[in-house]
Symmetry: C2
DNA sequence: TTTTAGCACTCTTTTTAATTGACTGCTAAT
DNA sequence: ATTAGCAGTCAATTAAAAAGAGTGCTAAAA
């Protein structure tokens, strides 16, 4: 494929991303390649169509990129520096926000990306159950109520309120705290399970209900933690592809049964951007969308994975530029700043 | 206004709520009043229009209810028992869910209402800043990190993580705990303010930064608590009125600048249902919608306010029935069950 | 050999006109 | 007081015509 055809393909994708309308040979000449004639463009377009990079919607329409076309565009034709000074400033402001919790940073990052790219953005925090426990604290909030606080080795804090049907004493709480820490320090969160319940019960012979409740509530909290965080849900509704009821419905469905998105996000590879275009998504309902995921981190602390979902003609250049830039910022800040 | 006219008006509103189409005299005869002729209905409709309860969309169209018509319908023509056995069952199931936090109960109630009525539902918890403090606990999570836990007199628990730029000792934390409790027990949450900061500083002469940070973070948490909780945002999009771009846009806007909804919810009167039909809403953007709010409670514990927003032709009967029923359930449960 | 002007052809979109259908309001009869 | 029946109105639907935006191909020019 010669250089001119590549330029034309890029022009077609760029134009289609901008307008969502099939691109005609004339448009290419006027906006991208003023030195060749539309007939020449037409010849090249015929060839590009033959080898499968572009398609027609009907006999006499302009061309739209095919899945293969988008793929080539993303892999070879794209420069990732599509970010303005204003945007850099804005990102800087947002990332300055002081957060007390790693999760909050992920949320801020998520909403920043959504605001700049205008696409729906989802995220999950770092996988809770694999994190190692540094310390567990139990704080009595009443004779039948406890708060469990777990500090992990990477510094995240998880807490939950636990209520009992019977009284518990400070002394019991102290013993429980000692025993939990003794057994769990340095171990991953998913060590809090049924066998642990039996172990603790055998050691203490306290009311099995209290021990059971504690373990169950902590498990519930860990599971709750893996919830999808979602920002900019309705941003997409302005897009022309959402005039199709089918497309809109699929979109809403995919976000609702959030297992789908969770699966995709969990597939992320550390510090690597993954791009799934249309059919490349495993889920049938995503066939009209592209998903870009990025598992971000500070140093080697996993920060969870962010995913952007938009139409196949999403602005790949902008999205990927912003992701790369934010990732860089997070790591730079870490180098200069706080511990 | 005679009995027959009232029946016809009710029929028109009911029919319009169901179909969203102007109601013709023939429809009334066929579905509601088989023993009178359509000409008679037409005569009555002309009169109902003259006195302002119904309107035409054009010369030869059927009638739709006017704001005044809805008002009469809601005030006088409606029975509030529009709830099926399945729905009662479903509500029962949902309300059985064990919760550790009052806020979670509000969330469950909110989502239940949204699921049954198919309308977008919003809620706020009980006004935090007026709640009285029962106890404050500070738990050290590291030499520069603290968790503040506040238990209020009505039993809600609020907690936040606080990070410092300098070290703090367990002894300092103990003193702070004593001082905070001494000063604040029995006082409302909004007593945690600038004057308190000065008082504590004068007593202790600890690093002003630490004291300042603690107070600010707690204030931030309290403020955060007043966030709108929103369920079923896109339920409305299937309704025919949302085909109008203007209506859809207004709806999205109102929910986004959530101050509007917060204001409305805060206007609630304990255990009373408020209904705002179309123009009765203060906010211009709500002119095509109706909002129904209900400030619910268990015994005399305020549980916050729930609001339902839907088209003017919303199913008032169902919405209000469900609200009343849930309110009853909550209070009955409380009588029989747990403390 | 590559590029281009030009024209016929195709398909969609827009515009216009004609028809149908759902109502009401009124009049005259019951 | 009610109702049958019919003329009149407007919106919605259907049909037909015109306009417009493209392409592909051919033959000439570079």
């Amino acid at each position: 494929m010669d250089e001119r055809k590549k330029k034309i393909l890029r022009a077609i994708v760029d134009e289609y991303i901008e307008t969502a309308e099939p691109v005609s040979s004339n448009t290419i000449v006027q906006k991208y390649e003023p030195n060749i004639s539309s007939a020449t463009v037409r010849n090249d377009m015929a060839e590009l169509e033959r080898i499968g990079f572009i398609e027609k919607t009907h006999t006499s329409s302009g061309r739209v990129p095919s899945a293969k076309g988008y793929r080539l565009y993303v892999d070879e034709l794209l420069k990732y520096d599509d970010i303005s000074v204003e945007e850099i400033k804005y990102i800087g402001e947002k990332l300055k926000t002081k957060v007390n919790q790693l999760e909050d940073l992920t949320k801020i990052t998520t909403s920043t990306i959504s605001e700049i790219t205008h696409y729906t953005t989802v995220s999950v925090g770092p996988e809770s159950s694999k994190q190692n426990i540094e310390e567990i604290k139990f704080v009595m909030l009443g004779s039948r109520m406890l708060m469990a606080i777990i500090v992990t080795e990477i510094g995240t804090i998880k807490e939950t309120i636990i209520k009992f049907d019977e009284d518990i004493t400070q002394e019991q709480v102290n013993t429980l705290t000692y025993l939990f820490n003794n057994k769990l320090r340095g171990k991953p969160l998913d060590m809090i399970d049924k066998p642990l319940e039996e172990y603790i019960f055998n050691e203490l012979h306290y009311s099995i209900n209290i021990i059971k409740t504690i373990i169950e509530e902590i498990q519930k909290m860990i599971k709750n933690d893996e919830k999808l965080y979602l920002e900019g849900r309705n941003k997409n509704f302005d897009l022309p592809e959402f005039k199709s009821l089918d497309v809109a419905r699929n979109f809403v469905n995919v976000l609702d049964e959030n297992d789908t998105m969770l699966d995709i996000l969990k597939n992320g590879v550390a510090n690597d951007i993954q791009i799934y275009i249309g059919d490349e998504n495993k889920n049938e309902e995503l066939k009209d969308f592209s998903v870009i995921t990025f598992k971000h981190s500070i140093g080697n602390k996993d920060l969870g994975t962010i995913g952007i979902i938009g139409p196949k003609r999403m602005n790949y250049s902008k999205v990927i530029s912003v992701m790369k830039y934010i990732s860089k910022m997070l790591n730079d800040d870490n180098m200069n700043g706080k511990e």
